[in-house]
């Protein structure tokens, strides 16, 4: 991982596909068509809408404003036709067939439910989106969220997928109310920082699961989601605008791919009182959902509306490398911001081994092979997991949630979640606590029993338990730049104080 602007040269990503070399290209998009593009990590393109109207995942783009995209696979859609100017290298093509009509109609159908809800003071639709990996779930969530925002709504967006993050670091699950425009360049936007933000910040509530797949430790995943649902329900009860808008819930693709996963869907449906399920792109999943939920009643006595939606042709498989890069980008952004738009200066501090309390997340006794995340169907692990679902109390005691550990060089380059809890709290309390933030272990000195950690800001964190999970996997590239960063930071602050 490279820290931009700090001297480490970025090796340019190699391309096999045809690219446009830094030339300025102008494209005319017909009405109802989509311009799909991929920008590799380390590259960037600039896009400008010259005329017409255009939107990215539901967020309307301003005319003649230059948008910069880095490391993304995205698309620009137009309802009315538009002309765009693109400079920079990217893979791109034009698509005329999109499921956008269905998607926008879905939005309007939800909007009607929201109208009803705000008139009667009732609750807006709670929408669960399921589908296999790379079916476009998150894109659909984003689209529905943006449309709702444009209509003056405030949807509560739940991300239950710990593999990818929403306004946070992978490994976490979040609930975020959205009232302001999404940051189309970055994806969703940013959680609060100490400085101004060109796009209004969003305020996520974050819990740490710390593993890539829900099935890695279902005993941890389920209670965390229960807690997340509880907090979200509390917010909804207090907040009439969000209440009338309802929730939009994104899920990990893996739970749509096997029986253990279906049980997890049932769990989510009951915890979040889901009353609308959108099934993306899988006939089999749809019929399975029909079977499970056609006679189901939510806790409020509602039936569940189940709809199958087509997958967009624009959905691309993201390989492990891309996911890895996404993850690194999310971590980097958490600590260092999104340069050049916003540069954040994290803070390093040294702590003794004895000063901190670290809990390691216990993984499932039958952990799925780490690099086989995509093929859970054939995995015996999932079947075994679910076999102790109903009455697995004794087993859970054996397994435990966390194990208190002594810091060691194993932790080097790992992320720890700092919890809103006390070091003396029970494991359950820590599990149910929300995340205060993340720290990165930059150095471990086993001889002197000291750690050097990178925290987003300079406050005391040693009185809080830290949770160590195996996800996200991190690499060691934070190290070198860190020193530079500290030096730079020191100079800047010094200057700022004494020259002002």
């Amino acid at each position: 991982m490279n820290i931009p602007g700090l001297g480490q040269a970025t090796p340019a990503a190699t391309f096999s596909a045809p690219t446009i070399q830094a030339a300025i290209a102008v494209h005319d998009l017909q009405a109802n068509s989509e311009w799909r593009f991929e920008v590799a990590y380390g590259q960037s393109i600039e896009v400008k809408i010259l005329s017409g109207s255009a939107e990215i995942f539901g967020t309307e783009l301003a005319i003649n404003h230059t948008y910069t995209f880095r490391g993304t696979k995205s698309s620009i859609f137009t309802w009315h036709g538009c002309r765009i100017e693109v400079s920079g290298a990217c893979e791109e093509y034009m698509a005329e067939e999109t499921p956008m009509v269905t998607y926008v109609n879905t939005h309007f159908a939800l909007e009607k439910l929201r109208d009803d809800a705000s008139q009667t003071g009732g609750e807006g639709p709670r929408v669960l989106i399921v589908g296999p990996n790379n079916a476009g779930k998150t894109s659909l969530v984003k689209l529905l969220t943006s449309y709702a925002i444009r209509m003056g709504r405030q949807p509560m967006v739940i991300n239950a997928d710990s593999r990818e993050s929403l306004l946070s670091i992978p490994g976490s699950v979040t609930a975020t109310p959205f009232a302001s425009i999404l940051d189309v360049e970055q994806g969703w936007g940013s959680s609060p920082t100490s400085g101004p933000s060109p796009v209004p910040v969003k305020l996520p509530l974050c819990y740490y699961y710390g593993l890539p797949s829900p099935e890695d430790n279902i005993k941890l995943y389920k209670p965390i989601l229960t807690r997340l649902a509880l907090a979200a329900a509390n917010r909804l009860a207090d907040d009439p605008v969000i209440k009338a808008t309802g929730m939009i819930i994104d899920t990990p693709g893996i739970i749509s791919q096997g029986k253990g996963g279906y049980d997890l869907i049932s769990h989510i449906v009951s915890e979040f009182a889901v009353n609308t399920i959108l099934v993306l792109g899988s006939e089999r999943l749809h019929s399975e959902m029909m079977r499970r939920f056609s006679t189901y009643r939510t806790s409020l006595g509602q039936t569940i509306t189940l709809v199958k939606l087509d997958k967009s042709g624009g959905c691309v498989d993201r390989d492990e490398t891309f996911l890895q890069q996404m993850q690194e980008a999310a971590i980097k952004e958490y600590f260092f911001g999104d340069p050049p738009k916003r540069t954040l200066s994290p803070h390093t501090q040294q702590v003794g081994f004895d000063d901190i309390t670290v809990y390691k997340i216990q993984e499932c006794m039958f952990p799925p092979p780490k690099h086989d995340l995509k093929a859970p169907n054939s995995m015996p692990a999932s079947a075994i997991n679910t076999s102790f679902l109903p009455g697995g109390e004794e087993e859970s005691e054996q397994l435990g949630l966390y194990e208190k550990i002594e810091p060691s060089s194993m932790m080097l380059h790992c992320l720890l979640a700092v919890m809103y809890a006390s070091t003396r709290d029970s494991h359950e309390t820590i599990r149910d606590a929300s995340v205060m933030g993340f720290v990165y272990v930059a150095e471990v000195d086993e001889k002197r029993k000291r750690l050097k950690i990178l925290a987003p800001l300079n406050t005391k964190i040693t009185d809080r338990p830290m949770v160590w999970g195996s996800w996200p996997e991190t690499t060691s590239t934070f190290q070198t730049p860190l020193k530079n960063m500290s030096a730079l930071y020191r100079t800047i602050c010094f200057d700022a104080v004494y020259n002002s």
Partner: protein
């Protein structure tokens, strides 16, 4: 060859139209495509379409209108030109024949014709104003007449009228020399009405009209026959002038600022008209509308010096704010107060609009003008000769004899209006017999005011969460994500309504952009950092503000509080400016031996030490000091563990988990 071919095309088109029995998107878009592909035969197709609309049965009229709508919006010229010819008669004749739900749809459609084509860069309305406004005016008139008729009818026939729609009955208002038009009679009194109705404020009308044969409908009030409020003649008078003045406006040569002002006023009039249509009982709206019309007349009939125009402009701007602020309250019976003032009508209405002093100069000017436009002149029914539509404005309002061709008559003849009364209020007045008001479905109630955000309920939204329903394209709904939301911000594309509230929001929004840009550079220099996430309690309590306001004071978020800017219960920050004295600049808290957290505080506009407190000569962490002195109230500031909302943590925890002795890397 062309003409023969055109006939064929028209014939085909006609046949296709005849197959259009229901509101089918596919067929409509198909017909639109055909129209687009045959623009060389636009005239023939337009004629076919128009005659189809006229001839087809009333159930099929709406789909046919949708074809027309789709063609003008999606294809545009030359269809717009051909179809605008005779649009008035096409529209009104159909309107008279269809039932109420279809009328509502037609009202909506008419509304969209006054706006630019969705998504188009062209900001001109779908149909030119001079095509749509006669229709609009006719509808408003029909509406008001219906109300008036209803009231008269109710009063005179209260006993007779048992239920439902009566057959055509002699409408009492015809006995009056004054035409029905927009005159709105006070409804039967609500309770307590009489007491507020002293026999004063009704001076003899100054314009010489006679009211002696005022119907006896007023007798139930227990008051002697009296001249009505000035609104009466005024309304009558101003009605024809609407069209006249609007037409004039449409044809007059541009005159920059006056034109802007004129168009502002025209907009306000439109708004007021819409308000009036929705709230016909509200006297203040009526007064305002009238005043606006008068003002328009003055402006158009005279040359005013720039300073007076500027003055009017300011007033108009204020008025437009105010008119937006007026809530769309449920219609209420007018109170006599609205009719109270005793000045000459025009002056009266203008003062009610602009304040008595503000227009003194204007009025003086008016009287000093060699050829002033006295109110009476306005009243003279000048049907603008250049009226492009046919038949002429149906107002016929200046003739006491009901015009058999008038809209109202036609509506009545078509059986769509009961003999006289139609209640056009959404909620029936409590003073009206329930069975009467409920007996007449309100056909006109749905003329939504243009500029406010259109709730989706008003746009036909028939989408349900069913695969088949979701697959049908509904281009009209897309508009509610674009042009219905107003104009976009140039920076971020967020849309804002063009009404006063929207403008205010946009102003605040642009200010926010500006501030952020300004502070970005500054923030870059001093370094910024990610805040901690908020905890459960703060998160549940926080509220998303208007989006951008959330971030405006992001600097104030202190470390532990996270994004407390948006948190309702924000603890008061305790801080000290960073000492200038270098000796103090590196001082430690005597209790915990730690340095102070320095940050830029926007409130104070300087670098401060957070959580710092000066006690005597020494600087302490406020929280340390509070702990040491057991000052519990101040200890809140260092709280990281919130009051447990869901969990069961105790507040003492944070005190016990005291600051352990970590050595932070020293920067300062």
């Amino acid at each position: 060859m062309t003409s023969e071919h055109a006939d064929d095309v028209a014939e085909d088109y006609k046949r296709a139209l005849e197959d259009l029995t229901m509101n089918s998107r596919y067929e409509i878009s198909n017909l639109t495509v055909i129209a687009r592909e045959n623009t060389e035969h636009a005239l023939a197709i337009s004629e076919a379409l128009k005659s189809h609309i006229k001839q087809t049965s009333s159930q099929k009229k709406l789909p046919a209108f949708y074809v027309l709508d789709s063609v003008v919006k999606n294809v545009g010229t030359p269809y717009t030109i051909f179809l605008s010819r005779g649009l008035y008669s096409t529209f009104m004749e159909a309107y008279a024949l269809v039932d109420n739900s279809v009328r509502r749809k037609m009202d909506e459609m008419l509304k969209t014709w006054k706006e630019p084509v969705p998504g188009a860069l062209d900001t001109r309305p779908v149909f030119p104003r001079d095509v749509t406004s006669p229709i609009e005016n006719a509808l408003i008139k029909a509406r008001t007449s219906a109300i008036q008729a209803h009231q008269e009818h109710t009063r005179s026939q209260q006993q007779i009228l048992g239920r439902g729609r009566p057959g055509p009955s002699p409408a009492p208002y015809r006995e009056t020399p004054t035409p029905p038009n927009t005159y709105r009679q006070p409804p039967p009194p609500a309770q307590g009405y009489n007491s507020g109705y002293p026999p004063q404020q009704y001076p003899p009308p100054t314009n010489g009209q006679h009211y002696s044969n005022q119907p006896n409908g007023h007798q139930p009030y227990g008051l002697p026959p009296r001249p009505p409020s000035q609104q009466y003649p005024q309304q009558t008078a101003s009605a024809p002038s609407w069209q006249k003045s609007q037409l004039q406006q449409g044809y007059s040569a541009p005159e920059n600022s006056i034109d802007v002002l004129n168009s502002d006023i025209a907009n306000l009039i439109t708004v007021s008209k819409a308000d009036f249509a929705q709230n016909p009982w509200d006297g203040s709206i009526q007064t305002r509308l009238k005043a606006l019309l008068d003002l328009q007349t003055i402006l158009q009939s005279q040359k005013l010096p720039p300073d007076q125009i500027a003055l009017i402009k300011i007033q108009v701007a204020q008025l437009s704010e105010a008119s937006k602020a007026t809530p769309k309250a449920a219609p209420k019976p007018p109170t006599p107060v609205a009719a109270a003032p005793s000045q000459p009508p025009q002056q009266n209405s203008l003062s009610s609009l602009l304040g008595p002093g503000a227009l003194a100069a204007l009025l003086a000017r008016q009287s000093a003008t060699p050829q002033p436009t006295p109110p009476t002149q306005i009243r003279s029914p000048q049907i603008a000769p250049q009226a492009p539509y046919n038949p002429p404005p149906p107002a016929a309002s200046s003739t006491p004899v009901p015009d058999p061709n008038s809209l109202l008559e036609r509506l009545r003849a078509a059986g769509m209006l009961p003999g006289a009364p139609v209640s056009s209020t959404p909620t029936p007045l409590s003073s009206l017999p329930a069975n009467i008001s409920s007996g007449f479905p309100p056909p006109f109630m749905n003329t939504p005011p243009m500029p406010t955000r259109t709730p989706l309920g008003e746009i036909p939204n028939d989408v349900v969460l069913k695969t088949t329903s979701l697959k049908i394209p509904r281009p009209h709904l897309i508009a509610s994500l674009y042009e219905k939301l107003g104009a976009p911000c140039t920076q971020c594309g967020r849309r804002f309504q063009s009404d006063a509230e929207g403008k205010k929001k946009k102003q605040a929004h642009m200010d926010w952009h500006f501030r952020v840009h300004q502070r970005m550079a500054e923030a870059e220099k001093r370094g910024q950092h990610r805040s901690w996430y908020v905890d459960e309690l703060d998160w549940i309590r926080s509220r998303e503000l208007e989006g951008d306001q959330n971030a405006t004071d992001g600097d104030n978020t202190n470390g532990l509080g996270g994004a407390s800017s948006s948190v309702a219960s924000k603890p008061k920050l305790q801080y000290l400016p960073v000492p200038d004295d270098p000796a103090h600049a590196s001082s430690l808290c005597p209790i915990c031996q730690e340095k102070f957290e320095m940050k830029w505080l926007d409130e104070a506009q300087e670098f401060v030490w957070m959580d710092a407190k000066n006690v005597g000569e020494r600087i302490y962490h406020a929280s340390c000091y509070a702990e040491a002195t057991n000052d519990v109230s101040n200890a809140q500031i260092r709280r990281g563990t919130p009051e447990p909302v869901l969990g069961k943590r105790k507040a003492e925890d944070e005190h016990i988990a005291l600051r352990s002795k970590i050595k932070t890397e020293s920067y300062w």
